[in-house]
Amino acid sequence: MRAALVLGLILAAAAHLLLPLTPLREAQAIDPDLADLILVQLRLPRTLLALGYGAVLGASGAALQAAFANPLASPDISGASSGAALGAVIGGYWLGLTQPLALAACGAAGAIGTLLLLMGLAGRRADTATLLLAGLAISLAAGALTSLALALAPSPFAFYDAFDWLMGSFTDRSLVQAAAALIPAGIATVLLLRRAKALDLLALGEDVAASIGVRPGRLSVEVIALSAIAVGACVSVAGAIGFIGLVAPFLGRSLTRGHPGRAMLPAAAIGAILLALADLAVRSIHLDRPIPVGVITALIGTPLFLWLVLTMRRRLAS
């Protein structure tokens, strides 16, 4: 199964980087340097962002689900993505920040703020209904504040300018922007993955985990902070992308016999593959204007999410 995931990852990366082939072939015919330019300057940052952001969503979604002991926790449903978007909008349109790394920090700060608020409102290991309601309230509030911040922003073009980004997009991102998002996100994700064993022990319940020497309170705060840094940095560059953080961990756990902590790594691989394929789909659909990738993930993710809710309901009923 591990080999299949690695193979899937390589194929998704290659497909995302090289497809569609026609523009590359045409550029090659005109000037080989032009083809290299398209590949390295345009496609490579996009591929790196799609794979990296997808992996971040998968791993941090799995980590949050393990920490909250709830399969419906995820960066988008818990409000972290909306909080990151709000942080980046304030940084970009109100504080006048332009450095990608500074914007990434604002995104991370926004995500940390919302996750701490969620923990305060719903509590750690909240039941599903409380978590969903609190997350929904925070997401709506952060969304409204983001709209307000854009409406009142000094730049009159802020709304138009931010639309594509807010819905999640990898179009025209530079290698510098990709690095600003993926280096902090990568470090945070590696630190998250190191907590796999502790998160598996948390599955035994907070009390048992604590008796073994895990500190559940500290672990939850670490998971929240690290996933917020990872997701916040990515959101600041590529916008909020929903559902991958919910669906990838669910699929990841099916490969780890339900273990929530060790599911982080397969969830990261699955998240990367899913987001790369979704972005490839966006690039392959030719409409008048580009569709934000977040629209595709939401369109695919919503039925999966509903199916997940139904499965949970059936399980609870039995």
Partner: protein, 233 residues
Amino acid sequence: MTSLVTTQVGIAGRLEPTGLTVEAGQLVALVGPNGGGKTSLLRALARVERSSGTVAVGGEDVDSAAPARRRHLLSFLPASRDFAWPIAARDVIALGLDRPGQDRVEELIALFELDQLSARPIDQLSTGERARVLTARALAARPQILLLDEPLTNLDPYWVLQLMAILDTAAQSGQAVIVALHDLTLLPRFDRALLIADGRVQMDEAPTSLMASERFEEIFRIQAAKGGWAVRR
């Protein structure tokens, strides 16, 4: 041989500082009215929550032991049988070990007669079956001290007797076993009984003398009657 020594272990508002010494191989019962502090004492001994004092197992301070070592010092089974994730019973037992040890897992599956259930997700088992799986998890690493909160609740009569036999064997092999329970008919099977009420150890005696005392009846608000116990009038 002394196995467990605590100095002034307490939890603010719930458990008065308690000094306790338990010998290796001792089977200790914790009894007392609801809310008296049995669970608090077990949680304080297991270092589940911030509590004062120190707990040493075989001379080793539990707080400063690394997780891998701690599993061999003590194990805690909470009263709750809830489990958040659909993990197979076999894998839940394996989580009790620091390193995967298939032989030990198989041994416990056989001991708790879980062969037919071992592949089933734990959340699809009955409460009593779940109790057996979770107790097997607690025993997995062969800790020096077993701290079990109501392990006999939810079990059918066969499994109450079986689990008592398993705990007897554990004690004979040198493990100290501390069990919170409500079934007073089982008390004589223990070496020692602690009566806990109002957040402190009120009595610490051999079970038979404990049950014969006036104080025991007073605290529990029951009295010996023909064939068992009756509410004290």
